[in-house]
């Protein structure tokens, strides 16, 4: 369903189906960008990022980008733009006010998260809230107070994700300086965004390390420390997770799914799938 809704406080929500390439655009406000089906490619400077339904992208105010979608592949995208003042009010509320907001984050969250432009997992509370909001808007709901309530909670969810994905992971790193830890995590997240975007290609470690601005050794050591997985294991898990979506939501034959998610050999895919989920891909599809 297509619409573009500007609220009285200048928050803006855009829902779009189908895709065509758009020229270079200017992100006028901080935005959270979701893809509910298909995938969308964003070119931001030298970075080429793809968002799929299991991830979302944050773009800061003023970022230049262009988007592209594969022809023939229907894309459903959903974008929330946050007005500067709304964001400022939220940050004050988060830092000084409502103690309840801080409950979940524990001690580490007393520092204010940044909006670093990268891809984050689209799961858990943020997913529930965005889907509820979209359903209301699709049904024509006009109550701006309620829409803003959802937007407020989307920001709470983002701050919690940031807490989980950055601060908690940084704690696991073996460095003394907190600033160094955060910087390393920021670079490791670049490695992750590279894998999120190129998961179905042959990824070599040198390219991955270059994208993350780390040496290969440094990348391998710190990635494992922070996430408990090697980049290769992370990639395999990502491919398997995305194969679940394809098996459930599309009718591509299993052999085709294998190559779509970047595996070369069907038998090793089936073996990995079975070890991981205790079910074969075919049986999973039948039960889904």
């Amino acid at each position: 369903m297509d619409y573009s809704k500007v609220l009285r406080n200048n928050n803006k929500i855009v829902s779009r189906t189908g895709g065509q390439g758009l020229g270079v655009q200017h992100n006028s406000d901080l935005s959270l960008r979701f893809v509910l089906s298909g995938n969308e490619r964003y070119d931001i400077g030298r970075r080429h990022l793809s968002i799929y339904p299991d991830s979302f992208l944050i773009l800061n105010r003023g970022t230049k980008y262009s988007t592209e979608t594969d022809a023939g592949d229907p894309v459903q995208s959903f974008v929330i733009n946050f007005d500067q003042q709304f964001l400022q009010d939220f940050k004050e509320c988060w830092t000084f006010g409502d103690e309840k907001l801080l409950d979940k984050g524990g001690d580490a969250i007393s520092v204010q998260p940044e909006f670093s432009e990268t891809i984050y997992p689209f799961a858990g509370d943020i997913r529930y809230n965005v889907f509820h909001l979209k359903q209301h808007l699709d049904e024509g709901m006009q109550d701006e107070m309620l829409i803003n309530e959802y937007l407020h909670h989307t920001l709470i969810n983002y701050f919690n994700i940031y807490n989980d994905e950055v601060y908690k992971k940084a704690e696991k790193l073996d460095f003394l300086n907190q600033g160094t830890k955060i910087e390393i995590i920021r670079r490791l997240n670049l490695a992750k965004e590279y894998m999120y975007s190129n998961y179905n290609q042959n990824i070599n470690l040198e390219d991955l390390a270059e994208h993350a601005c780390l040496s290969v050794n440094h990348l391998l050591r710190t990635f494992k420390q922070a996430f408990g997985l090697t980049p290769h294991q992370f990639l395999i898990q990502l491919r398997l997770k995305r194969s679940l979506m394809l098996l459930k939501d599309t009718r591509y034959p299993v052999n085709e799914v294998v190559s779509m998610v970047g595996f070369e050999c069907p038998s090793s895919f089936i073996r990995l799938f079975r070890t991981h989920y205790n079910i074969t891909p075919l049986k999973y599809r039948q039960s889904a």
Partner: protein, 130 residues
């Protein structure tokens, strides 16, 4: 005069909390005398686990929680498909919320009071393992 309001909420009664200072004997009473079965655990109050017990004949489950002070806890847990929506609409209708929506391991929860001060919990259960 009794005024009925057209309901726009999707709330339903799903859990009844039971608080006890002697958890084991309370649980034994339900399972051995009343025929309830333990079906799992849930966390509604930070740091405190509740045991879910069900009986074949009932649509509502009991939540047995070990707790020394019995005051200040909700007596009724209402389930909703969309907590923020119902919270907003109830609040607009003048219902007093003592806790605005917050995230717990069980999902999104808000708490409101009736005029006599009885506490109700409005719960949207969420599955975080998907």
């Amino acid at each position: 005069m009794l005024v009925t309001v057209k309901t726009i909420y999707q709330m339903k009664l799903k859990y009844i909390p039971v608080y006890t200072a002697d958890f084991d004997s309370q649980l034994n009473f339900y399972t051995q005398k009343l025929g309830f079965k333990v079906t799992g655990t849930m966390t509604f109050h930070e740091g405190r686990e509740s045991t879910v017990i069900r009986s074949d004949k009932l649509n509502v489950a009991l939540l047995v929680t070990n707790n020394d002070s019995l005051s200040d806890k909700s007596n009724i847990i209402l389930n909703t498909a969309d907590c923020l929506n119902d919270y907003h609409k109830l609040k607009t209708a003048g219902v007093f919320f003592c806790k605005s929506p917050a995230y717990l391991p069980a999902g999104l929860v808000a708490e409101f009071m009736d005029p006599a001060g009885n506490r109700f919990m409005l719960l949207e259960e969420r599955n975080y393992n998907e």
